[in-house]
């Protein structure tokens, strides 16, 4: 006897008529100082998002000073020619604003979010930070020490530890990509305010920067606000820098980072593949979603919903760095954590999923559902100004046209099952994957060796 007995059931309803939606097209312009500006009016979005891309990539960091871009990014909010560090933080909070900055391979990104009523004031603070950062000795010293304090926390986190090891394995030691984005104890210790200022002077200027402004701009004279704020930032021009090619060693092998007593094994399985400039990108997005985009994708259907080995395993592509000529690259990876006793069995199943996919390909219904999801969720995904601004800024730093995302949705809808299969099989070949496992070597080493997915080495730390 269940309560269901008396409920009246109805057939599954059919969809109504879709209301058209398109990824917003920004208006592109430039200020007198050379700063490129993308703006996009999103009615109703009272929280305005501003993203600034600075052409200060990690490979521009001087030798031995890995982390200087990170310290510079953080130091932007630690005082200007008008405010001390404490005053600057107070002024930002007074606007109800958040300001974050981080350094990555393509450059430094500074992200501001603020209620539209306080946009002019917050843009003024952002402009001060970029135009006249104080980089006071004492503040930089504090940021360096703070960064050194963070490193052991990252090493203790299984996911962060796995990412660090995978980069070290994949890329040649000479490549900046092989080393932690935010530096090591040794390199961070060597950073001082002079190094930060030198990096700033060499790589930060309006002529090579782009600002993206998204939100409800009704009634805002954005040109006037920009002229008063980011327009006051000055700087010269720069020679284009050569972009080093990305090379990676993806011979199939396994590295175990030993964590005695760990109740789970963190897994990160990856290699390097094409970025958004490649024609295969849309098919790769589609195929990767079918492999591991959600809990109904192939990996979780087995590892989670059939076997219960994990809370979830995902496959994804993350752009590392792009170049205008299309020589950039993305990290292709599978990540998740599985319980320690089932580590061998879970990896065995994971490889079976990859081999079955290569042997049999995706099905048409699988492809259809993936397209419907990837294209259908766009209006949800881009409801907020912050989401739109982040994607527009990603396109800028990856040297893509402003209509890339809009075009991608059209391409996805036209991508067939065969193309998606070819792309994902080529992205995740079962014999060209580097596997990093952060877990209890005493328990997982033998079962993993038995799988034959490559030579197994164990490291500590």
């Amino acid at each position: 006897m269940t309560e269901a007995a008396t409920m009246q059931f109805h057939p599954q309803p059919q969809a109504g008529t879709a209301r058209p939606w398109a990824f917003p097209a920004p208006e592109r312009g430039a200020l007198g100082n050379g700063l490129t500006v993308l703006r996009c009016d999103r009615p109703g979005q009272q929280l305005v998002a501003v993203e600034v891309h600075l052409d200060a990539p990690l490979d521009a960091e001087p030798k031995g000073l890995d982390g200087v871009a990170t310290i510079m990014a953080r130091a932007f909010s630690e005082g200007t020619d008008k405010h001390s560090a404490e005053e600057f933080a107070a002024e930002l909070d007074r606007c109800g604003a958040t300001l974050d900055a981080h350094a990555d391979h393509p450059g430094v990104r500074v992200s501001l979010e603020v209620p539209v009523s306080r946009l002019p004031k917050a843009l003024g603070l952002l402009a001060d930070a970029l135009r006249a950062p104080a980089f006071a000795d004492s503040e930089v010293e504090r940021l360096v020490r703070n960064r050194l304090d963070e490193i052991p926390h990252e090493a203790a986190n299984p996911a962060r530890r796995a990412a660090k090891e995978l980069s070290k394995e994949l890329f040649p030691a000479s490549s900046r990509m092989s080393r932690p984005r935010q530096g090591t104890e040794e390199t961070v210790s060597a950073i001082d305010s002079a190094a930060v200022r030198a990096f700033y002077e060499r790589h930060v200027r309006p002529a090579t920067a782009t600002a993206v402004v998204v939100g409800d701009l009704t009634g805002i004279d954005l040109d006037a606000v920009l002229a008063d704020t980011l327009g006051a930032w000055t700087g010269g021009t720069a020679e284009p820098r050569p972009v080093p090619p990305v090379t990676a060693d993806d011979r199939g092998r396994v590295v175990i980072v030993d964590r005695p007593g760990a109740v789970q094994t963190q897994l990160l399985i990856g290699r390097v593949g094409p970025d958004r400039h490649d024609r295969v990108w849309s098919a790769q997005v589609l195929g990767t979603y079918c492999l591991g985009g959600t809990l109904t994708s192939r990996l979780d259907r087995v590892l989670r919903e059939e076997k219960g080995y994990t809370y979830g395993v995902r496959a994804f592509a993350q752009v590392l760095r792009s170049a205008p000529d299309g020589t950039g690259a993305a990290m292709l990876a599978i990540s998740g954590s599985v319980d320690t006793p089932n580590t061998g069995a879970a990896l065995d199943d994971l490889w079976k999923v990859l081999r079955t996919l290569a042997a049999e390909g995706l099905t048409d219904p699988e492809r259809d559902v993936a397209v419907q999801n990837l294209v259908g969720v766009a209006p949800l995904k881009y409801e907020t100004a912050a989401a739109v601004a982040a994607t527009l800024a990603d396109q800028v730093e990856q040297h893509l046209p402003d209509d890339f995302q809009a075009h991608l949705y059209r391409q996805l809808a036209q991508t067939g099952t065969v193309e998606a299969t070819a792309a994902v099989v080529s992205a995740f070949p079962d014999d060209r994957l580097v596997t990093v496992l952060v877990g209890d070597a005493a328990q997982i080493e033998e079962p993993v060796k038995a799988l034959g997915i490559g030579e197994v080495t164990v490291v500590t730390g």
């Binding site: 309560e3 059931f9 309803p13 939606w21 009272q46 929280l47 919903e305 994990t310 559902v369 209006p379």
Partner: protein, 448 residues
Amino acid sequence: MPMGHTATAEAGSGGLTATEHRLANGLRVVLSEDHLTPVAAVCLWYDVGSRHEVKGRTGLAHLFEHLMFQGSKQVHGNGHFELVQGAGGSLNGTTSFERTNYFETMPTHQLELALWLEADRMGSLLSALDEESMENQRDVVKNERRQRYDNVPYGTAFEKLTALSYPEGHPYHHTPIGSMADLDAATLEDAREFFRTYYAPNNAVLSVVGDIDPEETLRWVEKYFGSIPSHDGKQPPRDGSLPERIGKELREVVEEEVPARALMAAYRLPEDGTRASDAADLALTVLGSGESSRLYNRLVRRDRTAVTAGFGLLRLAGAPSLGWLDVKTSGDVEVPVIEAAVDEELARFAAEGPTPEEMERAQAQLEREWLDRLGTVAGRADELCRYAVLFGDPQLALTAVQRVLDITADEVQEVAKARLRPDNRAVLVYEPTAPEDAADEEDEETAK
């Protein structure tokens, strides 16, 4: 079907409105129109959380939430996920102390599907629930526990501090994830009984927000949910009320393999839904939210004894809320140094209250957080359900920010003076051990 009133926008609501309705079976429905984007959010709050669980069955509400995605009479296996995602929607469910929520955000033209799916499982889950999905989701949830709590540094701090803050036997003594032993002990019959007791239309609030036609939406709601019978087996949760102050400091020292020393504490604060709880939110914001807060300025900027320092507020309606302090030490700094500085700052704040500038900053920060929460249809749907379930009035969601802006500096000082004191907190101190020590300890435990 009795129709509720149509609200006109109230002051401080940012022009948002919501209407309320109730079906004959007791299901409360809240609708809010917004046609800016062609999306609609469906949110369903069941008035059941971990506070309703009984001894020996901690984690059952959350495990049950997973089972809600394992199919119902007309939805097979993972069909709920597959259909929503295939329609271009996103979805999930979460479990807290006081409620379990389920939500779908859909492109407008797929709204009816989400309502059909939610109704199908509300009315017929038990016809599909079996041992196989129970065993599978038990393993998934145990892995969720390992991933989020057991296998990360400080991962069980929340659980430990909650257990210290609410006495043994109190409904909030344990957290929603539950213990491994209880997750192992849960039976299929427990899950069935849980459904029969709590998953009734008269124990739920449904909100639909976004690009909707309210009349059509209400017709669909009536069509799909209207015939689900109500039932009244539910016992009210055990009383969660406690004295305003703990009366003495409670303390636990944890020796574990963590990367740095840490000082965490939970202060007993006023229940959510009161002016005093908004005042407490402002006090914690001034003291410990963001990089212009008193604790950040003192510990991270000036003393340079901490790598992070901040306060958060866990708002609870059925028991005292918790003011959550989290400080990770810098280098070799010892915990008593941090603790003395924190106590000094709290005492100074209680004595002086916030400055006008601090009030302005804290109110601006909380206003931004509200804009953020109400800026998406899904966020708005969740808040409407929250105020309907916990406080009986969804309209309160739309005026929440105005209530925060109405709080005075005196009220902030008053709550700080009364509550943010050493005799009103549970303290958790982390002292790192070397890896070898940790391994030894673990062997001892296993040997017991």
